[in-house]
Subunit: 341 residues, 4 copies
């Protein structure tokens, strides 16, 4: 059994990780940490765990936790993660970091979106945990930078297209819509029920900090510099994310070509579902699963290609993909513990 620690267990990603490890046949929860709830059972925070998960939260003491775990999931804010990752790594514990601190190859990109990175030594040795794309690197990784939710929803459909050079990389527009859980569990006016319910709005138009993460990975896979236009919006629902992407094909690519391309890339990937012609993803069908659903429409006359992807932002966009990465790192079948409905 893989002994698992969830560091920062009282947010929404933490709660999902607890559920997934509870469901997992080859892993067990060993440690949950929380500063605020130190000493309290996790069911005090999330009553759904009553009678089921009775672990008490403890304070974050790296050396003690390193004794108790084989892998830790860090659900800590950016900048805080980088303080603990090197310590766990030094103690031989595998690390899956859900912050942005280990997602980047380029320090400049990271720092353009976040802040000074104060722990650059391990920066390069981490692997970007987009499971379907970087599986072979993940297998041997000791530190995973688990992808952001928006990047996951954009990169999975777009990487095959930019790799095969069938789209105009000067025109990639990502109109993304996310549920409120993506904003975390700390109370704020933005996540107040009455401010979000029956509303809908864009935010951080043109400057969301997931943009450099997406651009770095697209650039790397395309072999040419790619800039995108990205507008995130806030949906009045708890969980789920849908991204509508607009681009142009180049050359004489047909719809069938694109469908073949996707099937070649993802045909054997359990968690990618390529939808049939004239079918498009919806959040209801992706929610509570680790799937990324992809549908697309090609307008023959104009060459405009519209791609729609849907994920559960807390699963494929966070905790689910993190467990998928753990499975890969520990040589388990990728969907172990993730294939229940």
């Amino acid at each position: 059994m893989i002994k698992v620690g969830v560091i920062g267990a009282t947010g929404y990603t933490g709660a999902e990780l607890i559920k997934l490890v509870y469901n997992h046949p080859e892993a067990e929860l060993s440690v949950l940490t929380s500063k605020t709830y130190d000493g309290h059972p996790i069911s005090d925070v999330f009553p759904i765990f009553n009678n089921i998960v009775d672990i008490k939260c403890q304070n974050l003491d790296v050396d003690i936790i390193s004794e108790q775990t084989n892998v830790v999931f860090l659900c800590l804010p950016h900048k805080i993660s980088m303080k603990y990752v090197p310590q766990f790594h030094k103690n031989g514990v595998k690390v899956i970091d859900l912050s942005a601190d280990y997602r980047f190859n380029s320090v400049e990109s990271y720092e353009s979106a976040y802040q000074e990175h104060t722990s650059k030594k391990l920066f390069k040795s981490s692997v970007y945990g987009l499971s379907e794309i970087y599986k072979s690197e993940i297998k041997n990784a000791e530190i995973i930078g688990n992808p952001g939710c928006y990047p996951t929803s954009l990169l999975l459909p777009m990487i095959p297209l930019v790799k095969e050079k069938i789209i105009d990389t000067n025109l990639i527009i990502s109109d993304s819509k996310s549920g409120v859980s993506g904003a975390g569990r700390s109370p704020s006016l933005a996540s107040h029920f009455c401010e979000t319910n029956e509303s809908f709005k864009p935010y951080k138009v043109g400057n969301h900090r997931h943009t450099p993460e997406m651009e770095e990975k697209l650039t790397e896979n395309a072999g040419e510099e790619i800039k995108i236009t990205f507008v995130p919006h806030l949906l009045p629902l708890t969980r789920g994310m849908l991204t509508t992407i607009y681009t142009n094909i180049i050359g004489k690519t047909t719809r069938d070509n694109i469908e073949d391309l996707f099937h070649n890339y993802y045909g054997k990937k359990y968690f990618i579902r390529i939808l049939q012609k004239e079918h498009f993803p919806d959040i209801l069908s992706a929610k509570n699963t680790n799937f990324c659903d992809i549908g697309f429409h090609l307008d023959k006359n104009s060459g405009r290609l519209i791609i729609v992807s849907a994920i559960d932002n807390l699963l494929k966009g966070a905790a689910g993909q993190a467990i998928q990465n753990m499975n890969i790192m520990f040589n388990l079948v990728e969907q172990t513990g993730l294939d229940k409905l």
Copy 2:
């Protein structure tokens, strides 16, 4: 024109008051106060007011505001209100206080639910602003204690029944359900979208502080001491309140008797709608109005009487009733400025 000040304008009740005064043909907004937004136009807080209401928030200086207003609506927390009410009163400004500080006749009742009342001098001279019941007192009042939302939804249907002594006053059970706006605009875990959306729960079971307010008014109208059982619940919607009341009739009262009784009491009251047999209120039909809708069912065999009332918690349960009280105090037709849809 009545010059109006809204003291504490940046909460949900404040926003509704601004709208209602904006719509009002005989009143005009003169002053909005906010500590946090001092100097900012109210449209910075609520963008719906862009291009329409361009008043800037100011700090709460009683003497300055007293010069600028004929009436002030206080949307301040309990205990804070009682600091300012006497000052406005002294300056000759009519006061409609939306906190609990001036709702009670009995200091003990107030203090059992809230805390020490530190301004008892004016405690007795205020009038409880349940408009349909206390209209004649409101007419001449200088300080109104505007009723709580739960009390409004219970008292309007129950006062006629206890006055006429047709129900068993030992059995009054109020199962109430409120939208999230009732909890105010300050961010908290309880009002976090993801904690409320797709959920429903009771809170403060058996000890909500609106209970003494309801019991005092029922007791006063019944002429005998009344205790009730009250359980509030939180609905996953922004605004609206529905209360289901269970009691027993005494004697041989029929459904028609009760319907007559309600019509006698409320037939000429614009804002009370007594529904026909087998019709019951719903929040959708009361929302965004100042109505209190009342429906009921009498089980002949058991004598069990089920009464359902619905209001908009921000209107008839707060700002709407406050404007109705202002209309009464200034000798206007009760529904002035409140009859738009």
Copy 3:
């Protein structure tokens, strides 16, 4: 492996049964039926099953299906079920019927709420599938009448209390609130998004047809006739049910007595969670589980006992309890396939 048929698979209960059987280690989906979708894969109806459950819907031919299954779950309308149950039974297939047709002991009770029962022969040989209460009968049953959602939410907390005769059986008031999925998947004005969203209302006040079901089971367990007051309400959420029950204790029962009583009854029952003092259920913590959460408050002075229960109406209130019954019938551990989060 238990071979399972879901008869009427395209409603919300059908979808949940498919998920639960898919998750179940000892059962497998053999047959799905649908008149409308005959020949179509179930993923055409519910895209969440894409790539996962690829079974095609077939027409309802009892003899063919009887060859293919060990147990069938009937998700058919009342009155239709009673046509097929005897046929499956004759063919030796175990039947779990989710309609009301086999829930009653008394034909009169059934007919008072529904309509003429045209298949009375097997009426008496069915077992009421309230798993925690009737486990020993369920073990040997060949036909289960799976309980209604409202009855489940009321009976689980109330049966221990009426059995032990510690409450006044003349005063049982059940104020219940259900999500919209309880109304089924057929489009109607009542389930139209815009009629339900941001609204809340009671319906069938005093005459909902679950009332006789509840009264029959309470009466049977109390050993005296019991009548209740029941008001269902419609919540603006997809799934979940919360019931607030009002009664009086008789004698000198304390809160601790009641807590002990519940623990004696349910201490070893996996799916009943008795909450601690001053904790109450909420839908969020019961949703997507098969638990029934129970909390209560006793007002010492008045003797008023307030009990709150929460379930997922589609799980413990329908498909989950049906699988629990299957587990009991096939001698499996009760929570098999139901204990994932």
Copy 4:
């Protein structure tokens, strides 16, 4: 007083028209029609009108209604409208048609999206009721083709830009999101609460029938043929629409230039609000108003221009703009009866 008929009064647009006429100081409701509810008071359909609007629905008899009204609003399905419009017109009644039947200049465009137009005689004499753009034509019109909701949200921000030729008309992408009320009040699986709530999805990707309406009006205003990419999505909320538009500027246009351009066009238009830099519309601030809010972001380096507009789909997108057109036709101030909050 303008005597108003609402033809097809029992849908969501009908309900809004009733409210707006009820609120209107210069208009009064004379006729409501409904086939299904013939003879019933409108409050049987919408209980919010209880005690307020007591008009009974009548059957659609053009000659009788023509005697009773000065203007009729037709809320009928496409194709049905064109049967009645000529008859009302012949009787001298002004017509505001909310279907698509009189929105187009080109019969071919209309027929490409809808079906054969069987009443072409008056096709050309109608005026497209986009109030801010076609005010002078509306003034003298006898038949108004009231714009679709999606077209309103796109055309108001885009017409000034294409007229001034500052954007690349080969790249206009409209990613639109609408509340469920846009789908009408007839029950369907698509508008079932459980299918929409907590979900989000695109529909009619690349072939929504509002596309030709938008393209015709853009083409006309640009003086060159314009094709757009349009993807509508369904939001889990009752009312409101937000459109995010992606285009490129041509030449050296700055943000200030664009802001000036908008202010020149719309500075005196009551119902257009141009938001300040770094402010973007949200549905909450436009809902229940007749405003169209417009915000935008220009990325200097790439020239990508992102424009966001928000309207209430039932008001500025339907009934509100219809009343605005009535005001223009009857020489009233444009915002008469539309300026309450």
